[in-house]
Amino acid sequence: MATTMQMESGPATRARPAEAAIVVQGLTKTYPGGIEAVKGIDFVVQPGEVFGLLGPNGAGKSTTIGMLTTTVRPTAGSASLVGHDVSRAPLAARAVSSVVFQDAVVDRGLTGRRNLEIHAQLWRVPPREATPRIEEIAAALGVDELLDRPVASYSGGQRRRLEIARALVSHPRVLFLDEPTVGLDPRIRAELLDVIAGLRARFEMTILLTTHYLDEADRLCDRIAVMHRGEIVANDSPEALRGRFGAELVELRIDGDGAEALASLRAEGLADDDAFAVGATVTIPLRDRAAADVIARIQGLGMATHAVTTRRPTLDDVYLRLTGGSLAGEHA
């Protein structure tokens, strides 16, 4: 169940600004065998913005990043980084960007310093600038004391911070963070979110972040595009996305099939089109209705429920409404 909720005022439909950091127009990727990984997506990211691509595995996030970083060839459409078309001027596009990959992409046999030096050299940072810049960035990311150790001896969190430091050595105009906190323990993850939030707060650097984690997107991103089955089904600020459900919603945990219960509630006029069911849980945005009235009417129907609660909408609700499935359920 995918529902398109493109905001009319969303950036994808605005006039293309000349100074945009990332411009994506009709970007499409069809793999051999006819698998449509990305289906004509559009979005614009402004300089200094943190833009989140949210969605489960298979939604098309990694393929989109691949096209923007020139490792996946688009089937149709175009994309540019700071005005450099990724298909026509891939070297220029790569020169203004850096990537932090989801998996470990690092030379484990070399020291952390050497990994950073190689990045500096390939991105043509002048040698006299590279050394102090490496020291400065390593200190900022908390890996300065590890720099002369082989990366093979780093913990997962240390290696991840080194990879972020490496991406910053070339002073990218656009930074791609592909699932930057996957596989990290909660403490390291919280530290890394601080790092990313700090970068976003202090510097005129555009960040495109992909993530499974809704809390991560909510905390870091100015704008979020929800991808589902190769399409962008929503593109707005976290606040605006949450605001689609009003200020409050009712959540029912029922005995039996949630979809059947939802149909009954709709028939009784208790649920609108924006209500949704996932498993045995039915979620009903209240809009301007009173929670007590709605709950009383539901109980009057004699529906077998485990629990009835009211709460504020979250991005999870937006995601579930748009994609019809939970993130955790689609990871495999």
């Binding site: 070399l110 043509r124 908390g142 002073h171 510097f203």
Partner: protein, 279 residues
């Protein structure tokens, strides 16, 4: 470890320096990775040295052949050393792809064919080192060569072109094969079987006619014939291939074949690598 406090002043990317600097960076990186695992340099040496120093003298005694047979086999083992070392170097491409920094290098603002070319430079350097060790050990074992200035030229050119071609083959194979285990399983067919057919231990004319003709089409046969012409001043292997009277003409023709092999495989390697790197 210090606390995480992002205070980094970001500036514009710098302008380009020498166009060769990325290649030097890539080659230096590959060399450092290779040097961090010395067994990668040493393991390919074991078999050829065993052939040159143990098996060849044993064969000489068993078959009652001449003293020069040891030199014949010592030079023949170069034809085993080059394929083994270049194939092992190709294995590092798969390691890079699966657990190394290949994707970081692919996202760098450099032409992607530089990546296999950087690897090639290091594969050539390590191969040169191993050949030098092999010849040095052979000399120490009192296996004598007949070296002239011209002969050195034929030897170096043949070894260089053949090593370049074999490394290209290794890159192509590494791009086509997803796992290291599958790659290793293919190494004997690529590196060892041709060696037995190419006149390494005996003249190609000692084989049945059909195999002799197959051997004439193997770049390794031409490479070995040139190495023997260069290091032993012996054009017999060239004559076995071409049947002509002029050693220089035959050497020129064989060198042309080995050079074409190198050019073709290098071109294929850069194309296949670039193609495989982009989905």
């Amino acid at each position: 470890m210090s606390a995480i406090t992002p205070e980094i002043a970001l500036r514009q990317p710098a302008v380009a320096r020498s166009p060769f600097s990325p290649l030097a960076t890539l080659a230096r990186r590959r060399f450092q990775l290779t040097a961090s695992r010395p067994r990668e340099l040493l393991v390919p040496l074991v078999t050829p040295i065993l052939f040159a120093l143990v098996i060849a003298p044993a064969l000489k005694t068993a078959l009652h052949t001449s003293v020069s047979y040891e030199a014949f086999v010592a030079t023949g083992t170069i034809g085993l050393l080059i394929p083994l070392n270049t194939m092992f170097s190709g294995l590092s491409v798969i390691v890079d792809r699966q657990a190394g920094a290949q994707r970081e290098l692919l996202s760098a603002p450099i032409p992607r064919p530089l990546l296999p070319l950087g690897n090639l430079l290091v594969a050539l350097a390590t191969t040169a080192f191993q050949i030098a060790v092999l010849l040095g050990v052979a000399e120490a074992r009192r296996i004598h060569f007949h070296i002239t200035a011209g002969g050195i030229g034929w030897f170096l050119a043949a070894s260089l072109f053949f090593a370049v071609g074999m490394y290209g083959l290794a890159e192509v194979l590494a791009a086509r094969v997803p796992k290291a285990e599958e790659y290793i399983a293919r190494v004997p067919a690529v590196a060892i079987v041709p060696w037995f057919l190419a006149g390494s231990l005996f003249s190609i004319k000692a084989m049945p006619v059909g195999l002799t003709w197959i051997a004439r089409f193997l770049p390794l046969t031409h490479g070995l014939a040139l190495v023997r012409y260069g290091l032993l001043n012996d054009p017999t292997a060239l004559h076995d291939i071409w049947g002509m009277h002029s050693p220089t003409a035959m050497a020129g023709l064989s060198l042309l074949i080995v050079a074409a092999f190198a050019a073709l495989l290098t071109r294929a390697a850069t194309r296949v690598f670039s193609h495989a790197a982009i989905q």
